[in-house]
């Protein structure tokens, strides 16, 4: 079928913006996985809980969605600290933490079912037009449209990922986190206070889930099993982006969603999610080659 270049631009734009949302979710996973060694599936559940909490505050208390962050962000920070504190108390190995977060992931689904019902909850009909009316691009591209919610996703993703990446590279705390990730024992002997930093990182990651959850509640109908739909793209983006690299995860999520959407424009859409895993497979398959090449260059340099 023939598709205009404008249609392609539109679908790529939509994909990129949805990728921003997934990149915001991947942020916490990437940071916790990369820097704390915790592959935290519960992070996806927290995002869902953030979405549900936003939904409840908006529909029952008639709060503005953005205002809900004043409550959810600090509450989630405490939850993130508590979960990490539990791991420290248990002296949990990475595998144990994986099991615990996976168990929490399953439990959260049931809890969400009980509290918010397994039925679909949709915030969109309750939102004012400012959130839901598409915005047209100015001339010369008036045919391209973008949803305000997607712009919000973009702004949140860029802010959160930007601040994280900057903090990791440019602040003392960020250097401490990086040192800790590479060798916690060495970091300690260099004076890095590992425990408070670990707790704070986990808390901040959870806070980011509150923000991502707010965007989710505006963007899509909620159901307790929603995290299962995200898990593929978020985990793949986290791995492709490089563990502990929020910017990498965001870029990967954006690119993956653009590829998925472009694929769906010409090829059978049911294979689009498989494309994501195909990209991951190619990436992993390319690793030995990359290592071989870099070792070959290194040995040539030494010789």
């Amino acid at each position: 079928m023939s598709v205009s270049s404008l249609a392609l631009a539109q679908t790529l734009l939509n994909g990129a913006l949805l990728g921003c949302l997934f990149g915001s979710i991947a942020l916490g996973l990437s940071v916790k996985w990369g820097h704390l060694g915790v592959a935290d599936f519960f992070h996806l559940s927290l995002t869902l809980l953030g979405a549900y909490l936003t939904y409840s505050l908006v529909t029952e208390q008639l709060w503005d969605p953005l205002l809900t962050l004043l409550v959810t962000v600090p509450v989630f920070f405490v939850v993130g600290v508590a979960v990490q504190w539990l791991f420290l108390v248990l002296r949990a190995e990475p595998f144990t933490t994986l099991l615990i977060t996976f168990a929490l992931f399953i439990v959260t689904e049931s809890v969400a079912s009980m509290v918010w019902s397994p039925d679909l909850l949709n915030l969109r009909p309750r939102l004012s037009d400012g959130f839901t009316t598409s915005l047209r691009f100015p001339e010369p591209l008036p045919q391209l449209a973008v949803q305000p919610v997607d712009l919000l996703a973009l702004v949140c993703a860029v802010l959160m990922v930007g601040v994280s990446a900057w903090a990791l590279r440019r602040t003392r705390a960020g250097r401490a986190v990086q040192a800790m990730r590479q060798d916690a024992d060495i970091a300690r002997t260099l004076g890095v206070r590992v425990v408070p930093i670990t707790l704070a990182v986990s808390g901040l990651a959870a806070s980011s889930a509150a923000v991502a959850g707010m965007v989710v509640s505006l963007r899509m109908p909620l159901s307790p099993t929603l995290p299962l739909q995200w898990i593929g793209i978020v985990v793949v983006a986290t791995m492709l982006g490089g563990l502990g690299r929020p910017l990498g995860a965001l870029v990967a999520a954006v690119v993956l969603m653009m590829i998925q959407n472009a694929w769906s424009l010409w090829f059978p859409p049911q294979w689009a999610p498989a494309v994501t895993f195909g990209v991951l497979f190619l990436f992993l398959a390319a690793q030995p080659v990359r290592r071989f090449v870099s070792e070959a260059t290194a040995s040539r340099r030494l010789a």
Binding site: R172, R175, A179, D183, D185, I186, R188, T189, L190
Partner: protein, 242 residues
Amino acid sequence: MSLLRCTGVTKRFGGVAALSSVDLAVSEGEIVGLVGPNGSGKTTLLSTIAGSLPVSGGRVEFAGKDLTRTPPHQRAQAGIARTFQVPRPLGSFTVAENVATASMFGRHRTGRVEAIDRAHEVLEEVGLAAHAGAQVGALTLHERKFLEIARAIALDPQLILLDEVLGGLNPSEVAMGLDLISSLRDRGMAVVYIEHNVRAVSSIADRMYVLNQGRNLADGTPTDVLDDARVVEAYLGGPVDA
């Protein structure tokens, strides 16, 4: 008064005692050599002083304070630095960033930019200035060993614990290393120095301790210790210069 005083330090791994009631005292600005056969507990003792291993019994006092239960990062901030026998640089940092990390979180907790400046000074001192921007993976063994020392210096400690920092190096590198260690004493730092190469240690140590099977065997000036019949018997199985 001693800067560091270990009294009756005991460390058990399961039922095995790696250290049995070991005593050690170090004064300010003193180089103390710590020698003993393989498995005598030298590195374990260093770890209990640095705090990376909790003791099973005994006390560790530093600058008049009891640090027995203090976590390692607080000991680092109190002024105890250590190196590792097998260098453990932070692999994704450059050489200068490795050193700067110590400066940032050590005794005087500096800002990020100041720490990098300080790191360059220290690297100059240990002769690694040319490698400041390099990835640690590109360093040779002797450069890695010196990076360990540089990182310890950047903590600005009162006491440096050196674990075989000159092992595996060639004679000219060992000579450079010994000069460097001596210069630490000249700047007022105390040094506890583990080395397999007893001659090297005895050449710069003010005093020496000998451990055997996790116990104090002997201590005193290098000459006294090396002449001690028990040391010759237990540790060397023959005369030192044989």
